[in-house]
């Protein structure tokens, strides 16, 4: 392995390849920052350009695009409360409040360093721990996916800690919306009200743009503000180094979130969208000041951005070991490999080891180069958004949302759906329903339903078909995690009270 790694450096550190990586990073950043362009689409769009390159170089570019795209989603999340990709949903929770307080640049820099950290950890696992981790992924069957979805829903109790009831209602609404379309088992058409365009259901990105972006845009219009965020009163010198030190201090958060991201990425069917919210939840749970989350603290951004970039490396683990893509962009990469006659799987490491190792090492390089590329673009973007008057910013935001929702399926219907959901989202926002739980329901609905019904079918051969959910050890791990996650807020309050009483009695004596 060591010779292959050192040989790959020779391939990578040439001017041509470095330039290609940087070009890929800028492209990925742009598509990530634009809500509507997902990582999968960005990678798919650029596949034809790679036909003329040799397979290794093509993969390197696509890898750079992928990594930067997931990071770029944080830009729009922080600046206009719209996740640029589903992997950055959690970044809106703390990133946007920070921007509104005038700390947008600090937020972007935090996201940059966290993303790079997470990306490196993910690729590290890919390089050294692929085989054992991949076999864990296979153990996840339908019952486990169902319990994982349940666990995901219990996160709502932390996300919406101020009003758990409304959070769960939002989650239920999201879950219900996700059932629109074709039933995963049986193929029934559900809730389409006769519109054939709804057979595909509500696209996640369309809902994200609608629920997150439009309400904010409408609010800024309604408040007749002059500018969007509070501008920093003076240029802060040294903010780059200061933020770097700040982020690096939180090794616990960084490491935990990155590992969580890698693990979630390994599971085919769960990607960055799930990972960032799970990491956010865990960050709240172990934090000494959980109530600060959501008001605009860097810890939230660190958790979400580290985990979502770790998914990049994590998702490739089952791809290169078993030939099974861990996340949708990996499926496109898989296709590229097949087209070039390379079959992903264990043989790839032996027969084409130089391709694999060069690709993996290039991911390291791309992640590190992502930092300067991101800092420059992010700062530029931030200054633009902050300086632009609302009468320009709001229409431009609407313009970008229209392009974004159209480009998913080249369908004007999606744009109408996006706007309708936007109005509904605005109404719900005024009623104190946070969009986070709703989108969580939208993401987990298909995973949960599929797991649920598939498991019931699996259980047909058992005496009681419902036992299939309870007779597997991995399921129990997830069940316990869900119970803990659900009960944690109440549990913590009890413990806090207990310690307070103890302190008081000690003081008295």
């Amino acid at each position: 392995m060591v010779e292959a790694i050192s040989a790959s450096f020779g391939h990578i550190f040439t001017l041509k390849v470095i330039l290609m990586i940087i070009a890929g990073l800028f492209g990925g950043l742009l598509s990530g920052a634009l809500p509507g362009l997902t990582a999968t689409m960005a990678v798919a769009l650029l596949v034809p350009f790679t036909f003329t390159m040799d397979p290794t170089e093509g993969l390197i570019v696509l890898g750079a695009i992928y990594m930067a795209c997931i990071y770029g989603g944080s830009f729009s999340a922080i600046l206009v409360n719209t996740p640029g990709t589903p992997s950055s949903i959690g970044t809106t929770f703390d990133g946007f409040p920070m921007a509104k307080k005038g700390e947008g640049e600090r937020a972007i820099l935090t996201a940059t360093f966290s993303s790079a950290y997470g990306g490196i950890i993910g690729v590290f696992f890919l390089l050294f721990l692929s085989p054992p981790l991949a076999s864990v992924a296979l153990k996840f069957g339908p019952p486990e996916y169902f319990w994982m979805a349940v666990f995901g829903i219990t996160i709502i109790s932390s996300l919406a800690s101020k009003n758990i009831l409304k959070g769960f209602i939002g989650g239920a609404i999201g879950l219900l919306i996700s059932t629109i379309g074709i039933a995963p088992i049986g193929g029934d058409v559900r809730f389409t009200a006769g519109f054939p365009q709804l057979q595909g259901g509500i696209e996640l990105i369309v809902a994200l743009i609608g629920f997150f972006c439009i309400p904010e845009a409408l609010t800024m219009i309604a408040n007749r503000m002059q500018k969007f965020h509070l501008t920093e009163t003076k240029r802060q010198h040294g903010i780059l180094l200061k933020t770097f030190k700040e982020v690096m201090k939180k090794q616990g958060n960084l490491l935990r979130s990155s590992i969580l991201g890698t693990l979630v990425g390994i599971l085919p069917g769960a990607g960055g969208s799930v990972a960032n919210l799970v990491a956010y939840n865990e960050a709240i749970r172990v934090s000494k000041h959980p109530d600060d989350f959501g008001t605009g603290i860097p810890d939230g951004i660190i958790a979400t951005e580290a985990s979502n970039n770790a998914v990049v490396g994590g998702g490739m683990i089952p791809l290169v070991t078993l030939g099974i893509p861990g996340a949708p962009p990996d499926a496109v990469l898989y296709g590229v490999l097949l087209l070039h006659g390379l079959r992903p799987g264990p043989e790839l490491f032996t027969t084409h080891s130089h391709v694999v190792y060069t690709f993996i090492m290039s991911l390291f390089v791309a992640t590190i180069l992502m930092i300067p590329v991101g800092v420059i673009s992010g700062r530029l973007l931030h200054r633009t958004v902050v300086r632009l008057p609302i009468r320009f910013l709001a229409p431009i935001i609407f313009f970008l949302t229209i392009i974004g929702s159209y480009s998913i399926r080249n369908n004007v219907t999606d744009v109408y759906i996006m706007l309708t959901l936007g109005i509904i989202g605005y109404v719900l926002k005024r009623l104190d329903f946070h969009p986070g739980p709703i989108t969580l329901g939208l993401i987990l609905g298909p995973i949960g339903e599929m797991g649920f019904v598939q498991a019931i079918l699996m259980g047909q051969i058992l005496p009681n078909k419902w036992m299939i959910f309870f007779n597997r050890p991995l399921s129990w791990v997830l069940i316990i995690m869900s119970v803990l996650s659900l009960g944690w807020p109440f549990f913590m309050k009890r413990i806090a009270k207990h310690w307070k009483i103890k302190e008081m009695t000690i003081d008295e004596s």
């Binding site: 999968t40 689409m41 990678v43 798919a44 596949v47 034809p48 036909f51 992924a137 296979l138 153990k139 996840f140 069957g141 339908p142 379309g181 074709i182 995963p184 088992i185 049986g186 193929g187 058409v189 389409t192 006769g194 054939p196 365009q197 057979q199 595909g200 259901g201 696209e203 085919p268 069917g269 089952p318 078993l322 030939g323 099974i324 893509p325 949708p328 990996d330 499926a331 496109v332 990469l333 898989y334 296709g335 097949l338 087209l339 006659g341 079959r343 799987g345 264990p346 399926r409 080249n410 369908n411 599929m450 598939q454 079918l457 699996m458 047909q460 051969i461």
Partner: protein, 320 residues
């Protein structure tokens, strides 16, 4: 004299009009052609289209752009096909049995099978019955015995209704077995389920066996003859079960496309299908080359429509 003048003008106008239309058609194609895939990027429809992309660009002389319109198992894309401009610059990938089965089982799929104007069907992916390589089931006969002892054995596959699910039902009928079909979002999700032991067998496509030769053992292939990529796998017919099923992939144009454009596309795809590199890549991945031109495609569709209508009726899934 006046009448002569009028006649002259009418004749000239007709001549000019004719040259314009023939010129427009003769120039086809002169701008990029959009190839719409009604599924996810990275899926099998995407891969087969990508294999065709460069040779197609060479034959047509213009760039070919991939666009993805997924949703409803392809139905969202195909319903848009009905409303696309019939100028030959947008072609849609089509799949059987999806385009036949969806209008039959859904109240409103957004399109009718007969309205889809297929110009070419270029490949066939037969079903295979597969187990893991370390399974105790080594031959089809082993599986049949196992299934008889354990009725309701789980068989995974991609989609429902689909070539996998309908194939599973058809095989169950032919062999007199009770199989529980468990549908997954795609073959890419079904394979991990098999490898993880969550389902006992898979009714999947040959391309899966070609991709994971060391992990999947194909017991039999549901085609008329063996596949080049899997030469050791017997057909169901050889083993005594009259069972043929699989998915066809082709391309279609919107209704009302002029005949010349359809013929140009038909010839282009045929040429691409004889390209040596395309053939090698497709067969390596487990796809079987087919050469159905426009008329042959129409016959194929009507033949299969009758077959699926019967099958769906027996399963009680027919809505219209």
């Amino acid at each position: 004299m006046k009448r002569c003048k009028v006649m002259m003008i009418v004749f000239l106008a007709a001549l000019v009009g004719l040259t314009f239309t023939t010129a427009a058609i003769a120039k086809y194609p002169d701008k990029p052609v959009t190839y719409v895939i009604c599924f996810n990027p990275g899926g099998e429809s995407d891969i087969t289209a990508r294999i065709q992309q460069q040779p197609l660009e060479k034959v047509l002389g213009v760039p070919v752009v991939m666009v993805y319109k997924k949703g409803g198992g392809g139905a969202v894309g195909w319903s848009e096909l009905m409303r696309t401009k019939p100028d030959g610059y947008t072609i849609y990938g089509t799949n059987i049995p999806h385009t036949i089965v969806q209008p039959m089982t859904r109240g409103n799929a957004g399109y009718e099978t007969e309205k889809i104007n297929n110009v070419y069907f270029f490949e066939f992916t037969p079903d295979i019955l597969a187990v893991t390589t370390d399974s105790e089931i080594k031959t089809l006969q082993d599986f049949v015995e196992y299934a008889k002892k354990n009725p309701g054995v789980s068989v995974g596959g991609s989609g429902q209704p689909s070539a996998n699910s309908l194939g599973c039902e058809a095989f169950g009928k032919v062999a007199g077995l009770k199989l529980t079909y468990i549908s997954f979002t795609g073959s890419g999700a079904a394979v991990p389920a098999l490898l993880g032991g969550h389902v006992k067998a898979l009714m999947t496509y040959t391309s899966m066996a070609a991709r994971y030769p060391d992990k999947i053992r194909a017991l039999a292939i549901a085609a008329d003859k063996r596949a080049k990529a899997l030469p050791d796998v017997p057909t169901f017919k050889e083993l005594g079960y009259e069972f043929v099923e699989g998915a066809y992939r082709g391309v279609a144009v919107p209704p009302g496309t002029p005949k010349e454009i359809r013929q140009t596309l038909e010839k282009a795809f045929e040429k691409v299908n004889y390209d040596a590199e395309v053939i090698t890549k497709m067969e390596d991945l487990g796809f079987i080359m087919e050469y159905y031109g426009e008329d042959a495609s129409r016959d194929l569709v009507s033949k299969l429509t009758g077959y699926y209508r019967q099958l769906l009726k027996e399963l009680g899934l027919l809505k219209k």
